[in-house]
């Protein structure tokens, strides 16, 4: 099992009280799966994604990655975990505006080592793979939304992660481009055996997952694996 969540809770303190963004959630995510998370706004989708990516610590409960309890790591180890094992694809693309397409990929490679020649070669391969080999020196503002997202996907794959986390990756794209980006994510999942967890509002996008999770008020509301709705008691402690 790649990821195991056990009684995971994340609370936020607001001036009018405490809100459980994720509420006592237990879940197993197998290696090589494509998990989609849906739910209304405020259901805890993004909070769950942040915890899965080592970007946010849970208030209580455990999150294990390949058997190692991630939430016990210090800041630097969490950063190392993210650079080695996790790729992120964001709705807003999260590209650095003053870096070219190839440089945006190289900054991710740079975290692991400074061999510029090798890093450049790897970045070029990735750009080629996403079909942007002729846009290497273009800045984000010179690229279309779809192209920017493809650069973001290339960067997410730079360090060959086991886990790809996507937060509304098609949220800023028109339907045609959305399908193209979702196709790329599916290809990554199938060909590279990379586990993909995608948060989405779109029912069409959710269909790309082999496991579909629906959250409501931070709790697991529904789970559908390979089109078969499982007995939730099996997965929820």
């Amino acid at each position: 099992m790649l990821i195991q969540l056990k009684n995971l809770t994340k609370t936020y303190q607001y001036h009018d009280g405490i809100i459980n963004a994720v509420d006592n959630l237990s879940l197993d995510i197998p290696k090589g799966s494509f998990v989609t998370i849906t739910g209304a706004s405020g259901s805890g989708k993004t909070t769950l994604l942040l915890i899965l990516g080592g970007l946010l610590r849970p208030t209580s409960g455990k999150m294990s990655y390949n058997g190692s309890e991630i939430n016990l790591h210090n800041d630097d180890n969490l950063a190392n975990f993210r650079s080695k094992h996790v790729g992120f694809v964001m709705q807003s693309f999260a590209l650095v505006p003053y870096l070219t397409a190839i440089e945006n990929i190289m900054i991710a490679l740079n975290v692991k080592g400074n061999n510029t020649t090798e890093n450049r070669k790897r970045a070029l391969e990735l750009l080629e793979w996403v079909g942007l080999e002729d846009r290497t020196t273009h800045y984000p503002k010179e690229l279309s939304a779809g192209q920017q997202q493809r650069v973001a996907i290339a960067r997410a794959l730079a360090n060959k992660p086991d886990l790809l986390l996507a937060d509304e990756p098609t949220g800023n794209l028109d339907p045609g481009l959305s399908e193209e980006i979702l196709g790329i994510l599916k290809e990554i999942n199938l060909k590279q055996k990379t586990t993909v967890v995608m948060v989405t509002h779109s029912p069409m996008a959710a269909e790309f997952g082999d496991t579909k999770i629906q959250l409501k008020d931070g709790k697991l509301h529904n789970l559908d694996s390979n089109g078969i709705k499982l007995n939730m008691k099996v997965l929820i402690n």
Binding site: T47, A79, R82, S92, P97, Y98, V111
Partner: protein
């Protein structure tokens, strides 16, 4: 794509911000460089003024005053010539030349003249005008002049001893020469001793115009004073005077009156001290204001880059990498600001110096390194806190929260 490349690219991307950030540190460093440039030139001016004065310390008998000395009071008391030996053997630092004198008012025919006995080798051709008149000798070494005597821009102002003055020779002031109708080579009889006029001194407008300078020992013999002198003129270093040279001299010659000639030396020393203090005050203000300005600039930059910093943290950059990027940015701005501040300050001093202070200011190249070091230090101080706070930016700052 190293962190340094990343920093440089960001700086270049936000050029207009870079200019405004640079402006504060440039102006601050410029003020320091400008003041310092003035100060150094002013110190040199003091040294030159000392040369103009020649001697700047007078040793007189206890009962005499400077007025007696300048009036060449006929009844002025004397002290033994071996006081000179005491000074020479005391090796007090800052005493560059010792010139004993015996002065008396005497009559030549119906004319009153001031007969002054001097030691040729140690008598300073102090007034540049003397040197213009052709009196030349070996340059004297000033032990603590700011740049050394041989580096003075105006060669006429170098301190030189009068080369030779034979026992029967004399130099005469322009007033005497005019009244007695003397020219170089003329014979002049004083108290039945015949002197040859070796040199006519140019007009100075001072009591020197009525003086006849002759060899000290000849004058002592002529006046029958024995080995007595009426004054010792000392060329003391400006900085040594301010460091208590007079007190040290008084310890060696306790039964004499020791004083500086003129207020100019002390006034200029005080001016320099004041300038140094002002410079220090400016330095402290600029460290605070410059540090705060750079801090404000970096903090504004951090706020603008929250999303970008979040991206870097998300893909695995550590806090220390964020610190590095921001402090490096501060160092680069400090480096550029140091150079720009040096140029602005130096140009301002060169331009304003002659107009407002009548002083020609030259660039001081060593100040460039000081400017860069100071500017970088201020910038590092200013960027540390914003960098620390930037490290606290969450790695998910670029994500849309549910």
């Amino acid at each position: 794509m190293s962190l340094t490349d990343l920093t440089l690219k960001e700086l270049w991307h936000r050029k207009s911000q870079l200019v405004s950030g640079l402006l504060a540190i440039t102006l601050g460093i410029g003020v320091i460089v400008g003041i310092r440039s003035f100060l150094v030139v002013s110190e040199k001016a003091v040294a030159v003024n000392l040369d103009n004065l020649g001697a700047n310390i007078l040793v007189l008998p206890q009962s005499s005053s400077i007025d007696n000395y300048y009036a060449a009071d006929i009844d002025a008391s004397t002290f033994p010539e071996d006081y000179v030996e005491r000074l020479v053997t005391s090796t007090i630092p800052g005493v560059d030349n010792i010139s004993p004198k015996l002065t008396r008012r005497v009559k030549v025919g119906s004319e009153n003249i001031v007969l002054t006995g001097i030691w040729p080798k140690s008598e300073i051709a102090s007034k540049p005008i003397w040197q213009q008149g052709g009196l030349k000798g070996e340059a004297l070494t000033a032990s603590c002049a700011p740049t050394g005597p041989k580096k003075y821009a105006d060669a006429k102002l170098q301190r030189k001893g009068i080369d030779t003055l034979a026992n029967n020779d004399c130099f005469i002031g322009s007033g005497i020469a005019s009244r007695l109708k003397l020219i170089e080579g003329s014979k002049l009889t004083i108290m039945e001793k015949e002197f040859t006029v070796a040199k006519l001194l140019p007009e100075t407008g001072t009591v020197d115009d009525d003086r006849v300078f002759a060899n000290l020992h000849t004058v002592q013999a002529l006046l029958g004073t024995g080995e007595q002198i009426s004054a010792i003129e000392i060329m003391g270093c400006c900085s040594a005077i301010s460091d208590g040279l007079l007190g040290k001299l008084r310890n060696v010659l306790p039964d004499t009156r020791i004083t500086t000639i003129g207020q100019i030396v002390s006034t200029q020393i005080e001016n320099n001290k004041l300038m140094t203090k002002i410079s220090l005050v400016f330095l402290i203000i600029i460290i605070f204001v410059g540090g705060i300005s750079i801090g404000n600039y970096i903090w504004a930059n951090v706020n603008e880059r929250r999303k970008e910093i979040g991206i870097l943290r998300m893909i695995g950059y550590h806090k220390k990498h964020i610190y590095y990027i921001l402090v490096l940015k501060g160092i680069i701005i400090g480096f550029l600001g140091g150079i720009a501040g040096y140029i602005v300050g130096t140009l301002a001093a060169i331009w304003l110096g002659p107009q407002f202070a009548g002083i020609a200011v030259s660039p001081i190249y060593t100040l460039l390194l000081v400017s860069i070091a100071l500017s970088i230090s201020i910038s590092i101080l200013g960027s540390v806190i914003p960098a620390y706070l930037a490290g606290k930016i969450e790695p998910f700052s670029n994500m849309q929260e549910d």
